[in-house]
Symmetry: C2
Subunit: 387 residues, 2 copies
């Protein structure tokens, strides 16, 4: 397999973008990524796009074709990949495989979701289709309720506190305030989180990521040719993808995402790196408890110590590993199909040293962690600066 | 890139399968394919699954994870690919790329759709989301109406007749009667087609493929290792994928699918073959006019001569190229995400000489042609027996 590098990135602002349609969002992110890479549409050999549910959100399937069409790039091959909220990360992986195979050279990996226009049973109903329809959604389980089960069990087993979970939201909002593309620029306090309305106890409103619109793109090239396009190509050093049971109740454990552990193992092995070598990570904090479990499952601390690690500031600037400097899903926003690509955009900016006020100084190795559903899918990528 | 071969195939019966759920269908096809390849679930390295709209049909996204789960194969990486009715063909292509890259060795490419349980606005409404929602579906265009525009124009430009279109349905029903897995085993006459109720003039009920449930799977392996598994591996000699405008009205022509022409060109080039060397083809006859345009666009006859070629029996047994011996979408059924994989299953059976009463004698080279929407996506694969 050829090694693959990222030579350009672009993202829209995330938020409730009432004035932007699905097709406009993906164009905006794409144009920025191409400009960043210094290439034109004619240079692209293929597009992979992550999108969770255009069918339910905007009643549009066949999205990949629409994107090639709206970009004026027909007959360019364009492929949609779906894995719920991990759709973006999985699109990146498929794009990487396509370049690695030699089938294509320059490939755009895109992620996009337009959630605020949703009709029918609403965004929460559409999102519930990422859980097991027959055993979870059908009986009324929503994602906050499923993650609340995990949170409650984590509190029971390890003494994790609501304050520790709140600190995840506080940190990520503080980072988001420094990210021009983030949905929220409001700093919040632990008190704000604890006093926010309950969604599903112990999770409160400010423990939950929002409904968002947005798109993000990265441009991939064979690593050996990447220097022709940019002085700072970022190598995709490792990639891992794993599944677990779709329904939460079938799992071995409620406090660990086995899919994350397995995907991370694969990515670390491929990269030849260990968790302690990662300086910056974008992890899937769809709920605050998810970030605490993620930093454990990715090996940044022992199982059960995620709350403590957060409390000690080890996931903040100056800590052991800076987690979600973009603001994460909580602060930057969570247009579900776009999230996995937006995570890669942030890590590329960090490794290039272009992350502005949220820069992790001297970052050489970064990681992204994208989860579908309650952990039925996990995709992990590891990135490093090229020599 | 490594060459890739198919070492096993399996399919369910297609039809209105009220007694089978989505997850049961894909298991049934998968088990048959693994048995055919003589391998077990533990031998698989990854699954790719084509599905158009689990979200709208059964309110289930995150399908790939569900499949790995229900098969007891977690943490196996499993990826869903969507391109409307070309989802299956595109899943096959991504599976091929994954094996070609060296990322995986044994990969299952699956296709599945459960359409008869549809809730909400019904199957036709869900299918319409494969057209341009903002410019076609929103104003009431359905697929029969869009293909009727193409049929009318083809009749105007080339003198194609309703009888010639009817002959496509007659041929494909006759083939379906010989296929145990087909939805219909009813032979029909030209008179039956012409007298069937109009759906959108000039297309009548028997010009249209049905709403179906079904699943199909193929097992891929590196060609160099394929003989370890089977005496009759079938090489995927060529693969092409192209897009066109999503909306029909934006096209250069109403009587040619440029995406088919482009995808076929790429597949023929990769295979080093010409259209005249293809002895058997499964083409995307979602409507009878679609088969007539397909045999032109794939190069089996000149543009405008598809009706005549059909009338002369050149697409039937003993003809120049046997088209849709499985019964095609019209006779075998069209569970949209499964169709592209089911086409590959049929071609593999034909090239192995295992197609029973519908066998094309001595077939060495076969082709599949899978279309999304009105031609916004086309995927073409060329297969040949390995020496």
């Amino acid at each position: 397999m050829r090694k693959v590098a990222i030579i350009g990135v672009g993202t829209t602002k995330f938020g409730e973008l009432w004035w932007s349609s699905f097709r406009e969002l993906v164009m905006e992110a794409g144009i920025r990524a191409l400009e960043d890479a210094g290439i034109g549409g004619d240079d692209i050999d293929a597009i992979y796009v992550g999108n969770m549910s255009g069918g339910q959100f905007i009643r549009q399937e066949h999205l990949a074709c629409l994107i090639a069409d709206h970009a004026g790039l027909n007959p360019l091959p364009c492929t949609r990949v779906e894995a719920a909220c991990a759709s973006g990360g999985l699109a990146l992986r498929q794009a990487m495989i396509a370049v690695a195979s030699g089938m294509h050279d320059i490939v755009v990996a895109a992620g996009v979701e337009k959630m605020s226009d949703v009709i029918g049973e609403g965004a929460v109903g559409a999102l519930a289709s990422a859980s097991d329809q027959e055993w979870e959604a059908f009986v009324g389980a929503t994602f906050p309720s499923l993650y609340a089960l995990m949170a409650r069990r984590h509190m029971y087993e390890f003494g994790t506190t609501e304050e520790q979970m709140a600190l995840v939201a506080v940190k990520n909002h503080a980072f988001a305030a420094r990210n021009p593309c983030a949905q929220y620029h409001t700093k919040i306090s632990v008190e704000d989180v604890l006093r926010s309305p309950p969604v599903c106890t112990p999770l409160k409103l400010l423990d939950c990521s929002p409904i968002s619109d947005g798109a993000a793109c990265v441009v991939l090239a064979p690593a050996e040719e990447a220097k022709r396009y940019t002085d700072t190509p970022i190598l995709i050093a490792g990639s891992g993808h794993a599944t677990d049971t779709l329904a939460l109740h079938s799992r071995r454990s409620l406090v660990q995402l086995d899919a994350t552990v397995e995907a991370a193992r694969e990515a670390y092995r491929m990269a030849g790196l260990t968790p302690s070598e990662v300086q910056v990570a974008e992890v899937h904090d769809c709920f605050t408890i998810a970030e605490i479990m993620a930093i454990e499952d990715l090996g940044f601390c022992k199982k059960g110590e995620g709350g403590k690690m957060t409390e000690e500031g080890q996931t903040n600037l100056g800590g052991k590993v800076v987690v979600n400097p973009s603001g994460g899903l909580k602060g930057k926003g969570h247009p579900v199909g776009a999230t996995g690509i937006a995570q890669a955009v942030e890590i590329v900016l960090q490794l290039r040293g272009e992350a502005g006020k949220r820069q992790v100084e001297g970052a050489q190795v970064g990681l992204t962690h994208n989860v579908g559903g309650t952990g039925g899918t996990a995709v992990v990528h590891i990135f490093r600066r090229m020599g």
